[in-house]
Each structure stands twice: as C-alpha cells, then as structure tokens.
C-alpha cells in the first residue's frame, strides 16, 4: 500500500511541470478570480461609498420617525424636515399602478409567446419584446412629457397630465418587456414531459396551460413580477419627467407625485457636498439600495426554490 502511494507520487511528480506555461496559468487563474469576485466587490463598494457619504446625516440629524411618517420633505426650508412619506407614497403609487397595468399583459404575452406562438411568429415577437426593453428611460420620460401629457389632459379633461397615471403607464410599458421575457423563460423551463403527460390524460390545451404549466412555473412567474417591481421602484428618469414631481400624497391617479429616485436626481445637483441635505439624499440612496437588495434577493430565493424541488 505504502509503496503504491510512493509510486503514484513519483508518477505525479513527473507530470508536474512548473514551467512558464504553468506559471502563466496560475497568474491568469488569480486575475480571473479577481474578475470573478469583482461583482461582489462592486456591490459592497456601492454600499460602502453611499453609506460613507450618508452616514453623517444618519448619525446626527436623522429622525427615524420623521423619515417614515412625515410627508414633508423640506430640505431647504429654514427648519429643514426630512420626511420621506410622500416620496414613498409617490414611488408606491406609481409602481403599483404600473404593475396593475403591466403584470396581466406581460404574463398574457409570455403565455402567448411561450405556449401558443410557433416558428417565425414566436421568433419575431421575442425580438420585438427585446427591442422594446432597450428603449432608454430618458426617452420614456420624454414620451411621458410630450406625448402622454397632452393625451391625458385631453382624454380626462384634467389641468395637468403629468401625474400618477402618466408615470404609471410609462413605467408599466417599460417594465412589461422585462417581465415578459423572464416569465417566458419560466414557462419554457417547465419540462415538455409535463405537458405531454397532461395531454395524454385528455386535457385540452388551455387546461394544460392553467392546470399544469402555470402551477409548475409559479415561482418563476412570481420572480418575474418581483423583478418588474424592482425595475419600477428604481426607475429614475422616466418617473422624474412623467410624474409631475410634486410633493404630494396622492388621492387619485390624476395627482402629481414625487418619487424617491426622482428626488435624488432633481436635488443632488443643487446641494453642497457634505451638507445635511446632500447627506439626506445619500440616505435616500441607502434606503433604495436596501429595498432593491431585498427584492432581488427574494426573487433569487423564489427561483432557487423551484430548482431545489426538482
């Protein structure tokens, strides 16, 4: 036994060539590893640097109760107050409406593309959806400003067309292609054997879809919606331009609102580095970071849930 081990070692020794290619190989391995963990480093970096700028505010002037319960975001008044409730309401109302508009259509489109469409039609629809997802957010904002705004004023006879409705529709149109793509992937991940088994039992096509495919793809579909919510929540330019940017807790979809993201975008340029206002904006950034982190983590766990079960 011992002799065999020794022989094996000698053999391995002969194989072992610590020459230049070996050295380069090791070096590359290290470099590639650094690249590999760069994603982790950047996420940590983002958290560290926005906290570094915002921490001064959190430790001194930050009032948790005010932040979450006061609707008054008045950073430039003589007695500045930093209540983010109206901003949260703005973000929530716009994102909520966007999801209400786009979730049914996105899932419907995903089911059509994944389960009904075939061949050329399917390919073209997928390409189209992918192209729609590529339209930049500032262009969406501009569409809200210059096309949706007059449309809403005329259609509903309201004085201002930059409101929850406008931003919600714009955001819905923006999030829909992403949700459609992810939901379609989830449907595609359901093994064909499931469909065949159900059809063999005499189920009709729509029974297969509703009783077999959708339940099997449930987690993926939930993840698609979650990622859509994350997208809407974090969208900046489109919401800034289409929502009216008025500090307001909305009563109706025709009220103008202001979103968390938009507030940072609109105010950061006017603040002095290191001032309370500047730091408060970074605090909003930390809040946004944490929320999106939770949304993404949940989506990831939900997707992982199905994978482990299979």
């Amino acid at each position: 036994m011992e002799r065999r081990a020794a022989a094996q070692e000698a053999y391995l020794d002969r194989l072992d060539r610590r020459d230049l290619p070996w050295l380069i190989d090791k070096l590359v391995q290290v470099l590639v590893f650094i690249g590999g963990i760069s994603g982790i480093l950047f996420v940590i970096g983002i958290f560290v640097f926005i906290t570094r700028e915002g921490i001064g505010f959190i430790l001194t002037s930050f009032d948790v109760k005010e932040f979450f319960t006061s609707p008054f975001w008045r950073p430039t008044s003589r007695n500045p107050t930093y209540g983010a409730l109206a901003l949260m309401a703005g973000t929530a109302s716009v994102t909520g409406l966007a999801m209400l508009v786009s979730v049914p259509f996105s899932l419907g489109a995903a089911i059509f593309i994944g389960e009904f469409a075939t061949g050329k039609l399917r390919e073209s629809l997928k390409v189209l959806v992918e192209l729609l997802a590529a339209i930049p957010s500032v262009v969406w904002g501009f569409i809200g400003l210059s096309i949706m705004n007059p449309l809403i004023i005329r259609a509903f006879n309201v004085p201002v067309g930059l409101n929850v409705l406008n931003a919600g529709i714009i955001l819905g149109l923006m999030a829909a292609p992403i949700m459609t793509t992810i939901a379609e992937d989830a449907l595609k991940a359901v093994p064909d054997g499931y469909r065949e088994a159900a059809e063999a039992l005499g189920a009709s096509r729509w029974q297969v879809i509703f009783k077999v495919v959708i339940p099997a793809a449930k987690n993926g579909l939930v993840a698609a919606v979650l990622l859509g919510v994350g997208r809407g929540f974090g969208e900046t330019m489109a919401v800034l331009m289409a929502s009216g940017h008025a500090l307001n807790i909305p009563d109706s979809i025709f009220d103008s609102v202001r979103a968390l993201t938009a507030t940072i975008a609109a105010e950061l340029g006017e603040t002095a580095v290191g001032s309370d206002h500047y730091r408060a904006l970074f605090t909003l950034g930390i809040f946004l970071f944490v929320i999106t982190f939770i949304i993404n983590l949940t989506a990831d766990l939900v997707v992982r849930g199905i994978r482990n079960k299979r």
Binding site: G36, I50, F105, I135, V138, L145, V273, T292
Partner: protein, 289 residues
C-alpha cells in the same frame, strides 16, 4: 370512433378563445409602443438632418444641432467599454471555467443580479461618492464612464457567460488531453470559439450604456459645453442628458427639437440592439455543433 365529440368541440372553441385572448394581450402590449415610436419618428424626422447631427447647439440650446452631445456619448461609451469588457469577460471566464458549484459562486451570481437591479440613481450616488470625491477624479468623462461600466457590467458578464457555456465541453477535454494548461485551453480553444457571442454582448452593452442618463448626471455630463472633450478628465455633453436638459430645463425650446434628439438617441440604441440580435441569429444558424 374518432369523430369529434361534443366535449372535443367545446374544448376546441375554448382553446381558440383563450388563444385569441392572449394574442390580444400581446398585441396590446406591443402596439402602443410602436405607435409612440411612430410619433417620435414622424415629429423627429422633421428636425433631423445632416447639419443637425454635425453642428453645435446655438441660441441657448433652442436651435442648432447636437454634435458635441453625439461625440460626448461616443467618448463615454468607449471609455466605459475599456473598463467593463476586460472585467466582465474575466468574470465570465471565472464563472464558466473555474468556479465550482459552491457558496462563492452563488454569492457572485447574487451580486451580479443585484448590480443589475440597483436603481440607476444609486449607481450615480456611488459614482459621486467613489470616483468624483473619494478618488478625486472630479466631474469628468472618466468618472462617468467608470460609473456606467460598473452599472452595465452584468450585461457583459451574462452574455459572455452564455457564449462560453455554448462551447462544448469535449473541446476543452480534447485540449487538456494534449497537455495544454487551463489558460492555454481557454486562450486557444474556448475564447476563439466564443468570440462572436462575446461581441454580441458587447454591442448590447454599447446600446445600454449610450441610453443611460441618471448615472452620468452628476459624474460627468455637462449642461451645455460647446467644445469637444480633449481628454477623459474633461466634462462632456451626452445625448441622453441633452434630451433631459432641453425637454425639462431650458425655456423656449421649440417643441420639435427634443423630438429630433430623442429620435437620434433611440435610433442609435435600437440599431445597436438590432445589430446584436441579428448577429446572434446569424451565429445560431452557422453553428456547427
């Protein structure tokens, strides 16, 4: 025996109804956007011309062209690519060729998902905190491009990863059996076989980067700057920020002018995207294994 029963008939009717319903939903999702784009093309088309592309804005940005913004976007995208492509490809090579199925890989994947999911304005805050202030680069093309590079890193990683994974494992094994090291295998076999897929991802990243606004607002984009940037430490105008500025911040801009800017921006972005998709389809058709 094989005649359609009443149940079959009913099922068939229901099915075509359901099909129609989902088709309608798909159409309702796509048609409004196509109509909106048509309006953009119609209104913007009257503004866009060769002189519009190659002259600078005049009269307090209420007239003239977009040349400095166009060149600025080219600068921003190029510098961002120089940073993100090497890092992104390295990350993808690690994930595809080295990483095992362990907690670190899971953590990396989670980080990539998060990097893609963090709001763009938070990336902007990061850019201000890390590059403009901490590293002291100041408001410049470099700071803006670094911010953009980190934000779009997931695009490069995900598409490169897909390209690398499409290279059959047998290719690698054959190469290892010849006594090649891991790196020799990657360099001579894996990367050459995946290069077109990687390029597809890079084109996609160009399209993403060119359209971003929030990350460059406070890190490098200038409100109005009639000169072309001379180095990466200069500020610059950019197409996306220019569209924001003239449609919200400048009084007295003629209604059509921003439509022209939007049309040029969206043409750039969609053309790049379409190119990437076409390239991908061409590759899929050509695949030998």
């Amino acid at each position: 025996m094989f005649e359609a029963s009443e149940l079959n008939e009913r099922n068939r009717r229901t099915e075509s109804l359901v099909r129609l319903l989902f088709l309608t939903m798909t159409v309702l999702l796509i048609v409004p956007v196509v109509l909106i784009l048509a309006v953009l093309v119609y209104k913007g088309g009257r503004v866009v011309s060769i002189p519009f592309l190659f002259t600078e804005p005049t009269n307090g940005m209420t007239a003239g062209g977009i040349f400095p913004a166009l060149i600025g976007t080219v600068w921003l995208v190029s510098v961002a690519l120089l940073v993100s492509v090497p890092i992104g490809v390295a990350a993808a090579v690690y994930l595809s060729e080295y990483a095992g199925d362990n907690w670190l890989t899971r953590l990396i994947n989670l980080a990539i998902i998060n990097l893609a999911g963090v709001p763009s304005i938070v990336h902007a805050l990061f850019g201000v905190g890390a590059f403009v202030l901490f590293l002291g680069i100041g408001v410049s093309i470099l700071a803006a491009s670094l911010t953009l590079a980190i934000m779009t890193l997931p695009v490069v990683i995900v598409s490169t990863l897909e390209a690398l994974r499409a290279v059959p494992q047998a290719f690698r094994e054959a190469c290892w059996n010849m006594g090649a090291t891991r790196w020799q295998t990657i360099r001579r076999i894996v990367l050459p076989n995946a290069i077109s897929g990687i390029l597809t991802g890079i084109i996609l990243e160009v399209s993403r980067t060119a359209g971003e606004t929030a990350p460059i607002m406070f890190t490098g984009a200038a409100f109005f700057l009639p000169f072309l940037p001379q180095s990466v430490f200069d500020q610059t105008m950019a197409m996306s920020y220019h569209l924001f500025v003239i449609s919200t911040q400048v009084p007295g801009v003629p209604e059509e002018l921003p439509f022209g800017v939007a049309l040029v921006l969206i043409t750039m972005v969609l053309a790049m995207n379409a190119l990437s998709i076409a390239f991908r389809m061409y590759l899929r058709g050509k695949k030998k294994w």
